[in-house]
């Protein structure tokens, strides 16, 4: 009998909190506040409305750049994975794009576009895009040729083949890059906001960092993780379930 998923996650989070609490008490340093301190900090940030403001803005940036990066990444990754020649040509570009430090792309974006919203979003997309491409490309290289032949024999056409034959096979790769992608974008948004925005979680966290206020940093982190957990529960998990129902 499987434990109910609710009980399960309560148990799991409870254990985590316990570990945190014990460590915090043992360490007894301002650098590792107890969960309680973090929660009360979180509470007051919510009360003041500050947290919602910055979280909202960051989520806005995150959503746009996530969608852009995923969409472009899947398209390009699919092309590179299926067309060996194109891939051979652009492979080194991809490696370069992957390994240019975030700092460089962010600075260049800000310098070219100015300290504006577009620059920030563009910088995030540029940083996330190559990761999506690389992951999807691996998936596209490992598609089942038999099913593609079937689609060809029955004249599915491009769109139908994409929707019914290719996408379901890419699904695990898309999920992997969506999950790691949310995390990566969040990490990059932090840097982007730190270097040149006047609002958002990254801006705030950096401010706290200057003051060495770990409690507030953790409070903001917790709020973001809660959002991600909600996304996971409301979108990704159901998607997973739906996509796995044929197994």
């Amino acid at each position: 009998m499987p434990r109910s998923s609710f009980l399960n996650s309560t148990l799991s989070l409870g254990l985590l909190l316990l570990i945190w609490q014990v460590t915090a008490v043992l360490v007894a340093s301002a650098v590792l506040p107890t969960p309680f301190e973090v929660l009360s900090n979180l509470n007051s940030s919510v009360q003041s409305g500050e947290l919602q403001h910055h979280l909202g803005i960051t989520l806005y940036r995150l959503t746009i750049s996530f969608c852009l990066a995923m969409f472009l990444g899947i398209a390009i990754g699919l092309i590179l994975g299926r067309q060996q020649k194109t891939n051979a040509f652009f492979d080194s570009w991809l490696i370069i794009l992957l390994n240019v430090p975030a700092l460089v792309t962010i600075i260049l974006c800000y310098i070219w576009f100015g300290l504006i919203e577009t620059a920030a979003i563009f910088a995030v997309v540029i940083n996330k895009l190559p990761n999506v491409i690389v992951t999807i490309r691996e998936g596209a290289r490992n598609l089942d040729e038999e099913l593609i032949q079937m689609a060809k024999a029955y004249r599915f056409g491009r769109l139908k083949t994409l929707a019914h034959v290719i996408m379901p096979q890419l699904y695990p790769y898309i999920m992997a890059s969506a999950r790691t992608g949310l995390a990566l974008i969040w990490k990059i948004v932090l840097v982007v906001e730190m270097l040149g925005r006047s609002d958002g979680m990254g801006y705030q966290i950096h401010l706290f960092f200057q003051l060495f206020d770990i409690t507030s940093i953790l409070a903001y982190t917790v709020s973001f993780i809660v959002v991600i957990q909600l996304i996971e529960m409301a979108i990704l998990k159901p998607l997973d379930k739906k996509s796995q129902r044929w197994k």
């Binding site: 032949q149 079937m150 024999a153 029955y154 019914h164 379901p168 129902r245 044929w246």
Partner: protein
């Protein structure tokens, strides 16, 4: 569509690490008449699947030509592959509908067909939850539904029990008579070939070519098991070079 003429001068698979280049088909020529039912018999590994793939346009790396009515415009095929090749993430019904979208075959017709093949309970099952024989029947239904100039079938009735296979054979003949088209039917079972075909092609070991072409002229109603056995016996006696295939 009228006549289909197949001329494959050479089909080889390129050299790959660990295996030298390999010529599968060499100088294989034959014609398929309008609405003809052609069975293809040949040893395992001789290139039958390769041949069907070429005709279906899935493999373009060969020397030769496939001409329908003298031109080489695309031929509309439906294809029962050697494995079921169903989309695992689509139900039985969806799998068939997807292949049929252009023609808009009504659902009731699909359901009737599936019923005839004994799958009436599994319209909404996913392929992974079916036995292999059931999956093969779904693949059959898919090919039967699609309107096409030519029906390619690669050992379609293996893995079916005798009664189901019999039913499927009848169904195929009915379908073929109702909506005439050419059929290319690969089988290892000479009885089946004699029962179904207008013409049986015998292929050699690879590099394969046609070693013999036998016409079966008896009307299909008269092809009882006895008649098939007699025909096979005659064949064995008159065509020594086919003995190893029988």
């Amino acid at each position: 569509m009228n006549k289909l003429s197949i001329e494959i001068n050479n089909k080889s698979f390129p050299e790959i690490s660990g295996k030298a280049a390999f010529t599968t088909i060499k100088n294989l020529h034959f014609d398929v008449d309008n609405n003809e039912f052609v069975c293809i018999v040949g040893p395992s590994g001789c290139g039958k699947t390769t041949l069907l793939n070429i005709i279906a346009g899935l493999d373009e790396q060969y020397a030769g030509s496939i001409k329908a009515d003298g031109t080489d415009n695309g031929i509309k095929t439906s294809y029962v592959f050697q494995t079921p090749r169903l989309l695992p993430w689509r139900t039985v019904l969806e799998n068939i509908q997807l292949a049929n979208e252009n023609e808009d075959t009504p659902v009731t017709k699909i359901e009737e067909l599936l019923h005839n093949l004994g799958l009436e309970k599994n319209l909404n099952s996913y392929p992974h939850h079916l036995s292999l024989g059931m999956q093969r029947r779904v693949a059959l239904a898919r090919a039967f539904c699609v309107q096409s100039d030519i029906l390619l079938m690669d050992e379609p009735f293996v893995s079916l029990d005798q009664p189901t296979a019999r039913k499927a054979r009848t169904l195929l003949l009915e379908l073929w008579q109702a909506k005439q088209r050419s059929v290319l039917f690969v089988t290892h079972d000479l009885n089946e070939a004699i029962e179904m075909a207008d013409k049986i092609l015998f292929l050699s070991e690879s590099p394969s070519s046609v070693i013999d072409e036998i016409r079966v002229n008896a009307p299909r109603a008269e092809r009882t098991p006895d008649m098939v056995a007699t025909f096979k016996g005659q064949l064995k006696n008159t065509r020594q070079h086919l003995a190893h295939l029988i």
